[in-house]
Symmetry: C2
Subunit: 341 residues, 2 copies
C-alpha cells in the first residue's frame, strides 16, 4: 500500500485548443493566476482569440523550453475530449511530455494516446483518479498545523479561499503549503489527492496522506470539498475533516443561493449549522478545532451591499468575515495566528 499522492511534472504547456469561451477555460486560467512560474505557455488553435496572456507555443517549442506536461486547461460541457485535439496530444506524448487531464473521460479511452505514451514512456494522467490506494485512517495526531476550508455547499469558493490564504500566510512570512483535493487544485499545486474518488473505507486515510507530518509551525492549507451538510457529498467532507484533523477551519459561503447547487429541493444550510457540524465532527480527531472566520463570495450581491454584508456577518458570529477578492484574507490570517501562538 502506497501513500503516494498524484505528482505532476512541471512546468506546463496549457492546452486551450479551439475552446474560445473563458467559462470553459477556468482550469487553465486558475493555473496561470496562482502558479505563473509553472506555465511555459499556452497552445491555441489558429483563429482562437481566447488567451491566458502567456506565450503561444507549439508542442515542439514548449518541449524545447523545458515543458514537462501538456495540461488540458479546458473543461467543455460533458467533460469530453474532442477527436481533433488528439493529434496535438499525440505529438506532446511523442516528445516525452506527460498528458494531464481533469475531464471525466479518461485519456486511456483513446488507443492512439495509449500507444504514443507507451512508445515514449510518457504518462497519461487523469487527475480525477487517485494515484494509489491508501490505508485506513488512524486518527493519530501528526506534527504540523492544518487549516481546512469547509463550506455551506459545493462551489462556494473553498479552493479560491485556500489558495488566497496560502498566499496571505506566505506574504506574512509564515510557512504554508496549499494541499489540493480536486482536479483543478491538483493542477495548480502540481500534486494532491482527488479525495471524492477514493473508496470510502480509505477516505480519511487518503486525507492523512495528503497532509503528512510536518514542521510544528508549518501550516497546511487544505482545499475543502462538498459540505458536511450535503445529502450527497457529506461523506467526502467528513473523511477529509477527520483525516485533516484541522486545528482551524474557514467556512466558505455564497449568500444568494437558497438551495444547494443542483439540488433544487434541498435548502442550503446556514453558516451557524456549518460551524456547529464541523466543530462537533472535527473534535473526533482534533479536540481543539476552532473556526477562524468566514469567506464569502459576494460577487452576486449588489456592489453597495457587499461590504455591509461582510460587516453584519462579522458582528453576528464575532469572527472575521472576508471576501478574498474584495478584501483579501489578512483578517483571517490575523485570527489564525492569534489563537495559534
Amino acid at each position: 500500500m502506497s501513500l503516494t499522492t498524484i505528482q505532476l511534472k512541471t512546468p506546463y504547456l496549457i492546452f486551450l485548443g479551439d475552446v474560445d469561451n473563458f467559462v470553459f477555460a477556468k482550469t487553465g486560467a486558475g493555473i496561470v493566476q496562482w502558479r505563473p512560474e509553472l506555465v511555459k505557455g499556452q497552445l491555441r488553435f489558429s483563429g482562437n482569440n481566447l488567451s491566458l496572456n502567456v506565450p503561444d507555443m507549439t508542442v515542439q517549442e514548449a518541449a524545447k523550453a523545458g515543458a514537462k506536461s501538456l495540461v488540458l486547461g479546458v473543461a467543455p460541457i460533458g467533460g469530453q475530449i474532442k477527436d481533433h485535439w488528439l493529434r496535438v496530444f499525440e505529438e506532446a506524448l511523442a516528445l516525452g511530455m506527460d498528458l494531464v487531464s481533469g475531464l471525466h473521460y479518461r485519456l486511456e479511452r483513446f488507443p492512439s494516446l495509449v500507444a504514443a505514451a507507451k512508445t515514449s514512456g510518457a504518462q497519461l494522467i487523469n487527475v480525477r483518479t487517485p494515484a494509489s490506494s491508501f490505508p485506513v485512517g488512524t486518527g493519530k495526531k501528526r506534527p504540523g498545523k492544518r487549516l481546512l476550508m469547509v463550506g455551506t455547499d459545493c462551489a462556494v469558493g473553498k479552493k479560491y479561499t485556500a489558495l488566497a490564504m496560502t498566499q496571505a500566510l506566505k506574504e506574512q512570512g509564515i510557512n504554508a503549503t496549499f494541499r489540493a483535493t480536486g482536479q483543478t487544485g491538483i493542477m495548480i499545486a502540481g500534486s494532491g489527492v482527488p479525495i471524492d474518488a477514493v473508496i470510502t473505507d480509505f477516505v480519511s486515510g487518503a486525507a492523512e496522506a495528503l497532509s503528512p507530518d510536518n514542521d510544528p509551525i508549518h501550516w497546511d492549507v487544505i482545499e475543502g470539498q462538498g459540505s458536511i451538510l450535503h445529502p450527497g457529498y457529506a461523506a467526502v467532507s467528513l473523511g477529509l475533516l477527520h483525516g485533516s484533523q484541522p486545528d482551524a477551519f474557514v467556512v466558505c459561503h455564497e449568500p444568494t443561493r437558497l438551495t444547494m447547487e443542483g439540488f433544487p429541493d434541498t435548502a442550503k444550510p446556514n453558516i451557524a449549522q456549518c460551524i456547529e457540524y464541523t466543530l462537533l465532527n472535527g473534535q473526533v480527531t482534533n479536540p481543539n478545532i476552532r473556526c477562524i472566520g468566514i469567506s464569502v463570495n459576494t460577487a452576486r450581491l449588489p456592489e453597495v451591499e457587499q461590504l455591509p454584508y461582510l460587516s453584519r456577518l462579522s458582528q453576528e458570529f464575532n469572527l472575521p468575515c472576508v471576501d478574498p477578492i474584495l478584501t483579501g484574507c489578512d483578517d483571517l490570517v490575523t485570527q489564525l495566528m492569534q489563537g495559534s501562538k
Copy 2:
C-alpha cells in the same frame, strides 16, 4: 448508471473445505443460523469434523438438489484462497453454480476459475466489490420506514442486532426486510451493497439504492458499518446514515472494550456521544430521526452483571436496552412501534 445491488442466486452449498476452527467458519454459521431455508448443504473435506449441522454434499449432489451457488463459508486469517480448494470450485463452476466469496483475495486472481466460469457461464462473485456504480445521493425523502443500526465501534453486534430485529418485527406481523451492507450480511440476505467499498462521492447514493421506495408501513432494517465517531470509518457510517435517512436507529455497544478495535490509542466513544452525533448528522436527511434503544453484546461481562448492566443503561438513557441473545429484541420493537404509529 445502474442502481443494482449485488444479487446472489439461491439456494447455497456452503464450502468449509478443511477449515476446522469454528472461529473461521462464522460466515457459514451465520447463513445457516439466519437463513436455513437457503442452505442445501455443506461441503467438507474428508477428516474435517467441523459441522454446521446441515447435510454433507458433494458439488454434484448439491447441483442435483438445486443449489445455485457455492458460497465460501470460511474466512481464514489473511483472507486468502488455498490452492487445494480450487478443484472443488472449478467443479461447481463447471456445473453452472456461481462461486461466491467474501474474502479479500479476488476470485479473478485464479485463471482456472476464470476459465471454468467462462466455459459454463457461471459467475465469480466477490461480495466485497460493489456490483455497479451508483449515482450521487439526492437526500430526497423516500416512502417506507427505515431503521438503522449504528455503533460505538466496529464489531459490536450491528449485523446481529439488525437480523434479530428483522426477525422480531416479522414475528409480530410487521413487514420488514434486512438490508445488508457487509459481506456476511450480503450472503445472508442474498443481496446488498458492500458500502465501505463504494467510491466516497457515491456512498450515500449507494445507501439510497439499498433501501429504495417501499410500502409506507414497511420497515427496512439496515445493517450498520463502522461508527460515526471512528477516525478511519466514519465517512462510511455517515454516507450510510444520510442515504438511509432512517426514521429510527439502535446504538450497538460492547461494554468491556476501552479502546477502538485495532486502534489501541483511540478511546472508544460512549453511547451518549454516539446518540448525539447520530441525531445531529441524521437530521440532515431526516429531521424526525430518533433513537429507539441500545443493543449490548454482554457476552464478555460476568454473567451476574449482564442483566443489571442492561437495566442500569435503560434507566440512564430512558430507553429500552437489550442483548439480542440474552433478552431478545421485543422491547426495541415495542419502542419502535410506539413512536411510529
